[in-house]
């Protein structure tokens, strides 16, 4: 009976870990309030996340990871697939996570698109399914389209191509993120934009393509193009805010964070399109019984809108936008999702003012932004090789 159930769930503790992006204490507080489940949160950087998911299955119950990480981790068998029939809002999840298409006419971008690693054949399977099945690897939670961030005040001219990252004009003032799987995609966007390399599939490069990409960037690095590399959200914010860097690959809330300090910063939509990423939560293999039930309860709660609204108001997108709408004001929904002019002040869930009335979100509406994704964060077949080359690049 439900009564007993929620009584018992009060004593249940679930250990969740993930990147700082979505592993927020507000969520834990809210879930305790709504469901009585205690959620213990640990925030790590994405490499550490990968590592823990792959090597320490006992140290967590719920993994909040990105899809490309899932591609690496899933085959270890540390996670268990989820029964779609137990997910209440499954049908309302956006198409990107199901068949890969935002709208029926969308083209599927290169890289590890979420739907390619979103399903497996059966409950115990470690191989991904080509199409939707009843067994989902991760429940999508959060995603976004990334591009270059710039300081318009320090650059003073329009930027419209990825290739600007290596423009000697910004020598000593550019930055790149030091997470191989993401960085390589940014690099590829740049090289392609420069016209130096044409990739077969940026999400799955050949060794030659990898070598050529690194050659270009190593040369730029030695020439002093980069001020620093960043590995985490906050570093990118500080680099930008302190004026050390004027152009760099960046994440959306980082732009917001810079802006809240009163420093002009733009998430620049570029001609070549966005590099996109998505995250989801997965269940540890060791989760059973009452904890497993609680986890499902947690997931359903997650998709029921509060979290979505909470995340959307920071500039991310929710996997089930419809449910989130109820938790956002019209002004917010218009600004964040529909790309409309703000009718009043836009504030973050933490109370910071992010935009004034009349401002429009960089890049426009959800469909404008997610519709021009050029590639997804990816792990490629030559990942091992790429990683070593990346390591060399960083060390060179």
């Amino acid at each position: 009976a439900p009564m007993v159930w929620s009584q018992e769930s009060k004593n249940i503790v679930l250990r969740q870990f993930g990147t700082g992006v979505s592993n927020l204490n507000e969520v834990a507080t809210k879930v305790k309030e709504d469901l009585g489940i205690t959620l213990e949160m640990t925030a790590l950087d994405s490499d550490a996340v990968t590592q823990r998911a792959a090597t320490q299955p006992d140290s967590f119950d719920i993994a909040d990871i990105e899809y490309w990480i899932c591609k690496k981790v899933w085959p270890t068998g540390n996670l268990q697939a989820m029964d779609v029939s137990k997910i209440a809002n499954y049908d309302k999840i956006v198409g990107i996570f199901k068949d890969g298409k935002l709208t029926p006419e969308s083209e599927i971008a290169q890289g590890t698109a979420p739907h390619t690693v979103g399903f497996v054949e059966g409950q115990g399977s470690t191989a991904f399914a080509d199409e939707q099945t009843n067994w989902m690897t991760l429940i999508p939670t959060i995603y976004n389209a990334d591009t270059l961030g710039i300081r318009p005040d320090l650059i003073g001219r329009p930027i419209s191509n990825w290739s600007e990252l290596l423009n000697p004009e910004f020598k000593g003032k550019a930055s790149l993120l030091d997470i191989s799987s993401i960085g390589i995609m940014d690099m590829a966007m740049v090289c392609e934009s420069m016209g130096e390399i044409t990739y077969g599939d940026k999400g799955n490069m050949t060794r030659e393509e990898i070598d050529a990409t690194f050659a270009i960037f190593t040369e730029a690095k030695r020439a002093g193009q980069f001020r620093a590399f960043w590995k985490t959200f906050d570093e990118s914010v500080n680099l930008m805010a302190s004026g050390e860097v004027v152009i760099q690959s960046m994440w959306s809330p980082a732009i917001t964070a810079v802006k809240t300090r009163g420093i002009p910063c733009v998430y620049q939509p570029l001609e070549e399109g966005y590099r996109s990423w998505g995250g989801g939560i997965g269940l540890s293999k060791s989760l059973t019984g009452m904890e497993l039930d609680a986890a499902y309860e947690y997931i359903n709660w997650y998709l029921s809108g509060w979290v979505g609204g909470f995340l959307m108001r920071q500039g991310y997108y929710s996997a089930v936008p419809e449910t989130s709408k109820e938790f956002m004001s019209e002004n917010e929904w218009g600004y964040w999702f529909e790309g409309k002019e703000a009718t009043g002040e836009i504030t973050s869930p933490f109370g910071d003012v992010l935009a004034q009335a009349g401002e429009v979100r960089d890049g426009g509406s959800f469909y404008d932004r997610m519709g021009s994704v050029a590639c997804w964060n990816a792990v490629m077949d030559e990942n091992q090789y790429m990683v070593r080359k990346w390591n060399e690049f960083i060390a060179s």
Binding site: R15, F17, G20, N23, L24, N25, E26, T29, E40, M41, T42, A43, L44, D45, R52, T55, Q56, D58, S59, F60, K231, T232, F233, D234, E235, V237, N238, A241, S242, A257, T260, R261, G262, F350
Partner: protein, 278 residues
């Protein structure tokens, strides 16, 4: 007062500059931690307030500073106690040469010089290979010991090198058993050094990052949390934390000095004939 040489004054200036160099960042942190609510991690200051200290005591967006602090404190205490006990025992053992003591000594030196990340990596790998679960209180604890023990032992070696054996002989002569000799004579005499070893062990553990990195398991210790914060937090709350820990250590040192001073004062009341020819 006596006139001091120019060399003295030059050196005093040098020392002053050195202190400035040492404290510069601490002071920078100190100032920046009083940023106004809108302030960032860098200059210029955006107003002045205690906002970030208050913020420190509220729940953070991510992570769990106070949980991490509790864990680090507990771990520090565990490491401290273990280091003191094991170092004393080791120190006692090394007073006599025993078969294999040479090898053990080189092992201690090795433990001191091996880059910490290797220990972290190795312990992580072992736990991984044996299917054990890494946890700050097991693997983390062990890895930290490989760092604090050599220090503790080196201090104990130094202490016992200077320890006058005739104290022990006197105790034996007075009918103390081996255990009583240690309990009532050796330990009290070396107690000040033991406090030193303990404090040292605690500090080393409390601030240990590399060795805990791969061995802490699901829960962060404070340095890991701070490391996490440098990557997830964009506010001066991290500086507030730094300022607070510095103030905290100043307080502890002050308390120790005060206690030592009071003790000396109390003893001095009894007077002294030391050095007099009576």
């Amino acid at each position: 007062m006596e006139r001091r040489s120019t060399g003295f004054w030059l050196l005093t200036i040098f020392f002053g500059l050195f202190l400035l160099f040492l404290y510069g960042p601490t002071i920078t942190i100190g100032i920046l931690s009083f940023q106004g609510p809108g302030g960032g991690l860098t200059f210029p200051m955006q107003g002045a307030s205690l906002h970030w200290f208050r913020d420190l005591f509220r729940e953070q967006a991510v992570g769990d500073i106070w949980g991490a602090f509790r864990r680090s404190f507990a771990l520090g205490l565990m490491v401290m106690v273990t280091t003191v006990i094991v170092s004393v025992m080791g120190g006692l053992a090394f007073r006599k040469r025993f078969a294999g003591s040479g090898i053990l000594f080189y092992l201690i030196i090795a433990s001191l010089v091996i880059p910490s990340i290797l220990v972290s990596l190795g312990v992580g790998l072992i736990f991984n290979q044996f299917g054990l679960r890494v946890h700050w209180a097991s693997s983390g604890f062990g890895s930290q010991l490989t760092w604090t023990l050599p220090f503790g032992l080196l201090i104990m070696f130094a202490v016992f090198n200077r320890f006058d054996k005739s104290y022990e002989e006197a105790a034996r002569d007075q009918g103390a058993s081996a255990w009583q000799t240690i309990r009532f004579v050796v330990l009290p005499i070396i107690a000040p050094s033991l406090i030193g070893v303990g404090l040292f062990g605690f500090t080393l553990s409390y601030d240990e990052f590399a060795r805990t990195l791969l061995t802490a398991g699901s829960y962060n210790t404070l340095p890991l949390e701070i490391y996490g914060m440098t990557t997830n937090v964009t506010t001066p709350v991290i500086y507030a934390l730094g300022t607070l820990t510095t103030a905290f250590s100043l307080l502890i040192i002050g308390a120790f000095l005060l206690a030592a001073w009071a003790g000396a004062k109390r003893r001095a009341r009894l007077g002294s004939d030391a050095g007099k020819g009576v």
